[in-house]
């Protein structure tokens, strides 16, 4: 009966299904619930860039760990995940940004991340469509690109193989401190524990959670293969991602296996609807054309938006909530949830099963915030 269920995961985004896969592999009896289709939330809106980042030690640890897990998974990933090992090219516009290239190169190099420093001429050769006169760049060789909704489906299939159960079209109303969940239709399902993996909607299920919606815009082009060869990101992106203040845009472009390009990106708080904001789109596309002057002539087929789940310290919440040790959290992944989903799943399962984690879990513990899941019920 349902009492024998160990864990209910709410949210079949990439984070929830990665948790389901690792928990089921670890022998737990798992049920995954989602009100929509699999990977239909932020996972359907994001870029799918698997990237090592070093804004903080903890961010580096989780992204690096996760990327290595992704590389382990690669041989078994089906075709439709559209893996493109294009690497990341961080572009420096000026000497100040070039100094950041060198800092990053050193930091990455010391920790075993393969990188190459490009001068202005190298950059021109690597990406002829970039505007002339850029200072240089940093190539992070083993970063890559995937198609997230199919990755989510694949993780869920793995979870199912290990006995996990999945129900879509199920709206969850509340998580209870006894580990059970209350559904919108009034019924409830009991389990040893429940996990809030509802992404940007997680505060609705755990009131007081320090997670805010941060809106992002993207534009996809028609097929123009070979226009760019790397996921190219301006180093100014760091400043943009950092600022928690006003709206920002940064140049970020991704070549897809289909030959299309995904153009990003923007960051806005207090923009809870999903409509395309023309003023932001204007800024974002102008920025992209500044870097890639010929981009303006390519054909765009769709613009859309998504909501990142942002926390104050830009690190996710992974582990037991402060409300109850039967309500766990796997949310707050901001703009890195695709990258960090395997690491999140592994950490959560290790913690649940009392295994030793492979990287320290404390930086992501919800308890680091006084209200890391506070005033429940």
């Amino acid at each position: 009966m349902s009492q024998t269920r160990d864990i209910i995961i709410v949210g079949a985004g990439i984070v929830g299904v990665a948790c389901a896969m690792e928990c089921a592999r670890g022998g737990l009896k798992v049920l995954v619930l989602d009100r929509g289709p699999i990977g239909g939330g932020t996972t359907a809106a994001g870029m799918g860039h698997i990237v090592v980042m070093d804004d903080s030690e903890a961010q580096f640890a989780l992204t690096h760990y996760s990327r290595s897990l992704w590389h382990e998974l690669r041989p078994q990933l089906p075709e439709d995940i559209e893996i493109e090992v294009c690497g990341t090219l961080w572009v420096a516009a000026d000497d100040e940004e070039m100094a950041e290239v060198h800092r990053k190169a050193k930091n990455y190099g010391q920790r075993g991340v393969r990188v190459e420093v490009l001068n202005s001429a190298d950059l021109e050769k690597a990406e002829p469509n970039l505007r002339r006169g850029l200072a240089g760049g940093l190539r992070v060789v083993e970063d890559f690109v995937i198609y997230p909704p199919c990755a989510a489906r694949h993780f869920l299939e793995q979870a199912r193989k290990h006995g996990a159960e999945v129900r879509t079209g199920v709206h969850v109303k509340a998580l209870r401190s006894d580990g059970s969940v209350l559904l919108a239709d009034g019924s409830s399902i009991s389990a040893g524990r429940c996990v809030n993996a509802a992404g940007p909607w997680s505060p609705a299920l755990t009131p007081g959670l320090p997670v805010r919606k941060r809106k992002g815009h993207l534009v996809i082009t028609d097929r123009h293969p070979g226009f760019v060869h790397h996921q190219i990101v301006e180093l100014g992106y760091l400043k943009s991602a950092h600022s928690t203040g006003r709206d920002s845009v940064a140049f970020n472009i991704q070549p897809r296996k289909t030959g299309q390009m995904l153009i990003g990106s923007s960051r806005q708080f207090d923009a809870d609807d999903l409509t395309v904001d023309q003023a932001i789109l204007d800024r974002m596309l102008k920025r992209a054309i500044e870097y890639l002057p010929a981009l303006g002539r390519l054909s765009a087929i769709r613009a859309w938006t998504g909501h990142r789940a942002a926390t104050p310290d830009k690190l996710p919440l992974i582990g037991p909530s402060t409300v109850s040790d039967r309500i766990w959290l796997a949310t707050g992944h901001e703009g890195l949830g695709i990258t960090t989903s395997p690491g999140t799943g592994r950490l959560l399962a290790d913690l649940l099963l009392g295994r030793k984690t492979e990287i320290p879990s404390a930086p992501y513990a919800p308890a680091r915030f006084a209200n890391g899941g506070a005033h429940h019920e």
Binding site: T221, I263, Q278, L281, G296, L298, A300
Partner: protein, 429 residues
């Protein structure tokens, strides 16, 4: 470049032209935009350069004298803010400001997948007609015409005039229904004459009802079409196969503006006003009623948008008459359920992204299928497969996002700096 008008009309087909003429009579500044370089929309394409129909000539002439501005080769791609359309133009993006907007975006052909439907040489009847009007030669070509709607006859007639050998014309609707449409034809003399004229010229060409295609075969090109009447199945050789199943309204722009639909068409009130304030709609997006229905709806919308209610009201009775015709059309040419099972599991449904029907069926809804199989994600954004999926599986396109049509990246950028963009150049501090 910025353009400002009192009344802006999207689409220069019959509905748009009639709306423009009526709107201009109110003395307001009126503009019509159309993505093509000519006036007349689908049905009157080519009339500007090679006049044939007197009705088309009258309207084109009337439009020229109306004082309305034509913004041609201008394709409305987005609605960046209330009162503004963003449009693509070969030279520069255009921002068109409006006080009142009339949507006369017409319709497109509906395609249903069947084995072989993606072979070269298989085209929509309307599309083929357009090609021929633009000078594409069909002289001596053997053409099979099939599908549904009055368009089949009109197209077969036109192709024959251009020297094509029409092998056969097959209407999927049964005779009993098409004959039931007769009284509606009779009560509309213009249509009836057109119908009779077509019949005469088509003499010697088999026009069959209750017959539909089940597959097409060929090598690098279609060579044979297999047809059925439900009991017997036979094959006809051809060089081209013109196949289309009625029309689907172009509701993407109305949807992007937030207009409510009912049963797939834009919902309008007696003044042709849509659910969004100051937005009107006329012609095919409100219902597939043909050219005369589009003309009268266009005139009503143009009058109403110019605040001239009396002349609009005077046209209500005429419109009601055409709406009866429209309803009769829908009944007569309703698609038979057998067409839902033409496609096999390995038949492509999404041509842009090469997705088979079988693959699509593995998923629960349109969105799930789209996310997992990419169907509807290509340049046509589900315009073809969305309509087919809706008919076959009862699910279809759910959302419209800008651009309404594929457009250059630079065309998506507006000139405006708004409140949320105080410092456009300094983005990363």
């Amino acid at each position: 470049m910025n353009h400002a008008f009192d009344i802006v009309i999207v689409g220069a087909g019959p509905a748009g032209l009639a709306a423009a003429c009526a709107a201009a009579e109110s003395g307001q500044r009126v503009a019509v935009l159309d993505d093509t370089p000519w006036l007349g929309g689908q049905i009157w394409r080519g009339e500007q350069s090679r006049p044939q129909l007197s009705q088309a000539q009258r309207w084109i002439e009337r439009f020229r004298r109306s004082g309305a501005t034509l913004l041609d080769r201008t394709s409305a791609i987005a609605c960046p803010q209330p009162g503004v359309l963003l449009a693509e133009h070969p030279d520069e993006p255009r921002e068109i400001h409006w006080q009142r907007l009339i949507l006369a975006t017409g319709a497109r052909e509906m395609f249903l997948p069947f084995p072989g439907w993606t072979l070269p040489g298989i085209v929509g009847p309307g599309g083929l007609q357009a090609l021929v009007k633009n000078g594409w030669p069909v002289d001596g070509k053997r053409i099979v015409v099939a599908g549904s709607g009055l368009l089949l006859l009109a197209v077969a007639d036109g192709l024959k005039k251009h020297g094509a050998k029409i092998v056969s014309v097959s209407e999927q609707a049964p005779w009993s229904r098409v004959l039931g449409f007769g009284p509606a034809l009779l009560s509309h003399p213009g249509k009836m004459l057109q119908g009779a004229g077509i019949k005469l010229r088509l003499l010697g060409v088999p026009y069959r009802c209750g017959v539909w295609p089940v597959k097409a075969e060929g090598d690098e090109q279609v060579r044979r079409v297999t047809l059925t009447d439900g009991r017997n199945t036979w094959t006809e050789d051809c060089d081209l196969f013109a196949c289309g199943f009625n029309l689907v309204p172009n509701v993407e722009l109305p949807l992007a503006l937030g207009c409510a639909l009912s049963d797939g068409f834009v919902r309008v009130n007696e003044w042709q006003a849509a659910s969004v304030e100051n937005v009107y709609c006329a012609g095919e997006p409100t219902g597939i009623g043909g050219v005369d229905c589009a003309l009268v709806e266009g005139r009503i919308a143009g009058c109403a948008a110019g605040d001239r209610h009396a002349p609009a009201k005077a046209l209500f009775a005429k419109r009601a008459c055409w709406h009866r015709f429209r309803a009769a059309l829908a009944r007569a040419f309703a698609l038979r359920p057998e067409l839902k099972s033409l496609a096999a599991d390995d038949t492509l449904i999404c041509r842009c992204e090469d997705v088979t029907l079988g693959r699509m069926k593995q998923f629960n809804g349109w969105r799930d299928a789209k996310l997992q199989s990419r169907c509807g994600m290509g340049p046509c954004q589900g315009r073809v497969c969305g309509a087919a999926a809706k008919f076959i599986l009862g699910r279809g396109m759910e959302s419209v996002r800008p651009p309404v049509f594929p457009a250059r990246v630079s065309s998506l950028i507006t000139s405006g700096t708004s409140a949320s963009n105080p410092n456009p150049n300094q983005t990363t501090t």
